[in-house]
Amino acid sequence: MSDQSSLLRDQVVAAQTQQRPLSIRGNNTKSFLGHPCDATILDTSSHSGILHYEPTELVITARAGTLLSDIKQCLDEQQQMLAFEPPSYGEKATLGGTIACNLSGPRRPYTGAARDYVLGCHIINGQGHIMKFGGEVMKNVAGYDVSRLMTGSLGTLGILLDVSLKVIPKPLHELTISKELDGDQALQLMSHWRQTPLPVSAACHNGEQLFFRLSGSEKALKTAHSKIGGERIDNGDHFWQRLNEHQHAFFNSSKKIWRLSLPSTVPMLELDGKTFLDWGGAQRWLVSDIKPDTIRQLVGSVGGHATVYRNNDDQTDSFQPLSLNMLYLHQQIKKAFDPHGLFNPGRMHREI
């Protein structure tokens, strides 16, 4: 646990002088995501430590290299948690990587994504300046929302030094129930219950069965269970964790694993392959050999986008390409933060 910010800044300044791009890396648990970049590795893993945690303020601040597992444990001791339920994809996952990828778990449609809980951060931009945006308070509209812009930018705009997050109390009780249904029936039911004030905190479908997780007081769960029906599943926590961490047998494949992000009510898509619905239908995992363009065209036509999440090849774009107008704007924003193009070149979109 130590402050490496000036060392990291020195490395940025040196890279700038030598015109040598940098590939920002924590503990390398998410190297499968995005394109590999041909650049010198900048290791942020030793810039770690929880800086501030005050349970009654619902805020935690930690350095980017802090292990996600340490943060989860620290919150757990106070009966609190990260509302966005981030996956780790490995024991050594760091906070920085989690935020840089905007990773969120099954609770996402009901409580929000990583970006929704980011309150502030310190970053190093491409000119080697250490800067603070946002803060540790719940509401802050001074200046542009750079901390949320950094979230999900895959390290292409700057180096995250530390991040402040809003945290929430853990639910008193949780209950997972399941029903046998096909995909379209499951989507209809997920949408139906989404419109009611039932305490649903996760909804997925594995191809044969629909699963709901309920969170709240024991009495509230009992009432909700009687309304929704279905069988109670033992060890529900384990089930959701395995899905979140891609440890479910579904993800055991050498084919491309696609992440489709869609409006939740879009019916099952006519695509050859296996589909696993998560996020109440808004995030769909697809294992398929279909041509990328075919997938992207279909997904785009219903208002969504498709990411090759795992097992990508060298040629296929990891992320749905941007329109020309949007790409131009992205290039201008990249230039505003990283004028020399030092950080993670091509990791997200090849042009930025």
Binding site: R115, K139, G216, S217, P263, W279
Partner: protein, 488 residues
């Protein structure tokens, strides 16, 4: 800024786009637009354009872009930081005529609306589906959703349900080049950078927001309000921390101090105890069972931590009545003084007693009374400074006092604005909250969208020169802000 076209020629070009009722340029017509909700600052615009279609907005913006004429977007004009304050050299673009609800999609829990739709009108329109739009600024009967996005507005329910940024899915913007861009989507995320978050709260500096798709939530099964009175403000502050530490996130958690209680009670007879030093209003919502359990826990916690009386609303009418006092707090204070000046700092909640004590000291020093209204759950303070603009020098004193309160919020580890925005009002305090490199980063970011600096110029982010001038007057603990800059 030097316009490269005469007003007369500009009017000629714009009258080819807009009918005569939608183009105001005589002083008697433009006068109503000289200020927004911050009426202490006034300027007449060059002219006011009131388009009704996106094509008209694109055409207007393209002309302004071509001739380098600044454009200031305005919604309902209820903003409290002078974000829509006109300039003599700028077109004021009113979006009031774009006031249609375009689509309600209950299955997706989304509604697509034009920017001039009032905040409350959305919840009213979707209530038939058992849904509502959560962010509820106190001005929700009047303020428009476009302005809410531009300011990232909050409200009394944002501790649990978030700000505008958490409750929108997609927007359409018109860039200063006149292009229509869709940002976000009806899915839960989009490829590329999170431009939806960047645009939210950007105060009209990056683009004109012309359509918004908001997220809707199911109306909770039950909502219940508890009012607790305290004989000491500090005790009320501690009680808030204990409620949250107990694992409860109330839908709303508001505090009012004695002057605010008295003003509100006089105005709407909400049933507030006028002798209390502070009251807490705590709303709990959710399933029937969860609310019952939480009402018992919160009541017990309030008692345990020093509440001298506790009242639970017996029915919906009483719940509405208790909230009415809070929502009417600003106009209520407006009745007890000729003018009031509303501040908007946010602080870590634990610093509340210290900040309130310092505000009271400053109030004595400036001889200006203050009433405090406070979104206690999320640390957002609204001190209302009471003054009389007709007394020579009092407005200036008030502004100085207000500036001191904002600096206090920064010192406490907070921010100068929680939900009202920087606008024109807090631009100098931005120099204290941010370092030169950070401000420069904001300017670079704006440049990515608006290289000529035509969108709402001079607001939200101060120039470094402005900070140098301001900094020369504000030497804090012997440290000069922005020592790297030359002084003027």
């Amino acid at each position: 800024m030097q316009n490269s076209i005469q007003k007369k020629q500009l009017l000629q070009k714009l009258s080819a786009i807009l009918d005569s009722d939608s183009l105001l340029y005589e002083q008697e017509d433009t006068k109503p637009y000289e200020c927004d909700g911050l009426s202490a600052y006034r300027h007449l615009p060059l002219l006011v354009a009131l388009p009704s279609t996106l094509e008209q907005i694109q055409a207007i913006v393209r002309i302004c872009h071509e001739y380098k004429i600044p454009v200031i977007a305005r919604g309902a004009g209820t903003g409290l930081s002078g974000g829509a304050l006109p300039r003599e050299d700028a077109v004021l673009l009113s979006l009031a005529k774009l006031n249609q609800i375009l689509d309600i999609d209950p299955a997706r829990c989304l509604a697509t609306v034009q920017p001039g739709v009032r905040n409350l009108a959305i919840s009213e329109a979707v209530a038939a589906f058992g849904l509502y739009y959560a962010p509820d600024p106190s001005s929700q009967i009047a303020c428009s959703i476009g302005g809410n996005v531009a300011e990232n507005s909050g409200g009394v329910h944002c501790l649990k349900y978030g700000l505008t940024v958490h409750n929108i899915s997609q927007i359409k913007i018109i860039t200063i080049q006149g292009e229509l861009l869709t940002i976000g989507s009806e899915a839960l995320d989009s490829p590329g950078y999170d431009l939806l978050a960047l645009m939210t709260g950007s105060e009209g500096m990056l683009g004109i927001i012309v359509e918004i798709t908001v997220k809707l939530l199911p109306i909770p099964e039950r909502a219940q309000v508890i009012m607790a009175a305290f004989d000491d403000v500090e005790k009320a502050g501690h009680a808030v921390g204990h409620i949250i530490a107990d694992g409860i996130i109330p839908a709303g958690l508001e505090m009012m101090d004695n002057p605010a209680i008295r003003a509100a009670e006089d105005f709407v007879h909400a049933g507030y105890p006028v002798d209390a030093a502070a009251i807490l209003l705590c709303e709990l919502d959710g399933t029937n069972e969860d609310v019952s359990e939480q009402v018992m826990r919160v009541s017990a916690l309030m008692k345990q931590h020093g509440a001298i009386s506790i009242k639970t609303a017996r029915d919906e009418a009483e719940r509405q009545q208790l909230w009415k006092g809070r929502k009417a707090a600003f106009p209520a204070v407006g009745r007890i003084a000729p003018d009031y000046y509303c501040m908007d700092g946010t602080i870590p909640r634990s610093k509340l007693p210290w900040v309130l004590k310092r505000i009271a000291e400053l109030s004595d020093q400036y001889q200006l009374p203050v009433a405090n209204v406070f979104h206690a759950g999320d640390g957002n303070l609204h001190p209302l400074i009471l003054y009389d603009a007709n007394k020579p020098g009092e407005l200036q004193q008030t502004e100085e006092f207000g500036g001191k309160i904002l600096e206090l919020c920064i010192e406490a580890g907070g921010t100068i604005t929680g939900e009202h925005g920087v606008g024109m009002e807090k631009i100098d305090q931005m120099c204290i909250q941010f370092q030169a490199h950070e401000l420069q980063q904001f300017h670079d970011l704006k440049h990515a969208f608006d290289p000529d600096g035509l969108l709402n110029p001079g607001k939200a982010v101060p120039t470094l020169h402005r900070c140098a001038e301001f900094g020369a007057m504000h030497v804090h603990q012997g440290q000069l802000s922005h020592p790297e800059l030359e002084r003027f």
